[in-house]
């Protein structure tokens, strides 16, 4: 048994154990913290699989933003969800044992199926390797996201926008168009406010680097957009900048800029014969232009999704 295999085995066991603990934990807040830990461990698993792009997305979105959403909701629900004071009746125990047995059986069957799959699956690697020279970038994941399967990414950004429309549509009538998120109480000279003023310099640098590096190395619009969203959320929570009113036209333009740029370049491609096709020779330039617009829109959409329903006047 090599050291790497021992590490992989321990990591897999740890991931499963933390996921189980997150599902079983009595206290809701404990469960959410365990879920965030689980997301970070899953990101390490993606690093072990040599999928750094996914690891970045999992750590930032799967663990970070999802965890933030759940913590915020738990706070809003105000401690509801504590364990029941009553003891375990036989009926309740059966009510848990039956689904548990079912899930163990289903998971075991899935594991058997996964292990039974043939080892020699060529996949799409050769095809990507063959055509990547024409894609304009050298990071294969970015080539797939922005070129080969660009329509997936276009629809995904539209799904994000639709989700935000869904969240906003739950606004009570009296608050429509107002400012989302809770009022912040950070002291203007406090530690959080200082952090909120220091972080943007570093955060913007990291986001710009991820965006630019995404062409040739792990990174790209989604990772950069998430970093921007996180920095913006810290700035808002620290009270350095107020959250904008959702009725603000500039906010709405920012939200649709990315999908609109993507569609616009796609339409230019359609004029040249292929919808979403990039002009030969200028593929890298168009990809970077689309990615820059996407980064800004993704950052705005993710940030506003986390802040949630508008609930206070501007």
């Amino acid at each position: 048994m090599t050291a790497a295999l021992v590490f992989d085995l321990s990591l897999c066991l740890l991931i499963a154990a933390v996921a189980l603990a997150a599902v079983l934990a009595d206290d809701l807040f404990t469960a959410i913290v365990l879920f965030i830990v689980y997301g970070l461990l899953a990101a390490i698993a993606w690093v072990r699989l040599d999928a750094i792009d996914v690891a970045l997305a999992e750590a930032a979105i799967g663990a970070g933003l999802t965890g933030l959403l759940l913590v915020g909701a738990a706070a809003r629900l105000g401690g509801r969800g504590a364990p029941p004071a009553a003891g375990r009746t036989p009926w309740r125990l059966l009510g848990k044992a039956a689904p548990a047995a079912l899930c163990v059986a289903a998971a075991a069957a899935l594991v058997v199926l996964v292990l039974a799959l043939p080892d020699d699956a060529p996949g799409l690697r050769p095809l990507v390797a063959e055509t990547i020279a024409a894609s304009g970038v050298t990071n294969p994941v970015t080539a797939v996201l922005l070129n080969f399967r660009g329509y997936d990414t276009l629809l995904e950004t539209i799904v994000l926008a639709v989700a935000l429309v869904g969240v906003w549509s739950l606004t009570p009538d009296r608050d429509w168009g107002s400012v989302p998120g809770a009022r912040q109480h950070a002291r203007p000279d406090g530690v959080l406010a200082t952090f909120g003023r220091l972080l943007p310099a570093l955060g913007l640098l990291v986001a710009a680097h991820l965006l630019w590096a995404g062409a040739d190395a792990p990174g790209g619009a989604f990772q950069a957009g998430t970093v921007l969203a996180a920095v913006w959320l810290v700035v808002v929570m620290a009270g350095v900048l107020p959250a904008p009113a959702t009725a603000d036209t500039r906010v709405r333009l920012l939200l649709v800029a990315g999908p609109a740029a993507f569609l616009g370049f796609g339409a230019v491609g359609a004029a040249g014969g292929v919808f979403l096709g990039h002009p030969a020779g200028a593929a890298k330039a168009t990809i970077l232009a689309i990615e820059t617009a996407l980064t800004l829109s993704i950052a705005a959409t993710l940030g506003l999704l986390v802040l949630g329903v508008p609930r206070r006047p501007a």
């Binding site: 899953a42 797939v144 935000l164």
Partner: protein, 107 residues
Amino acid sequence: MSPILYAATGAVLVGIGVFGLLARTHLLRRILAFNVIGSGIFLAFGGLGSRGPGSGVDPVPQAIVITGIVVALAATALAVTLVTRLFEETGAVTLPGEHPAEGPDAS
């Protein structure tokens, strides 16, 4: 060997998540369990996508998993907002008719 190990872990995570979805009634816990199922599927997909010649995960599954992670966040945000609105309107944190196994507040 190792990629298949992660794929198998993904399968186990799906089982854990489905159990959470069935056994817990608090809606936030169900959203959490739903996310465990989702990332279990991603991990299985990634592990299976690293089989065959060449190192690392096939870039096409990688790109699709990144898309999936973002869409999962969008779905989670919408679900969380629905739960908080349900709580604000009715005071409930479980679905109507559901056995309130984890309410009411004790802490």
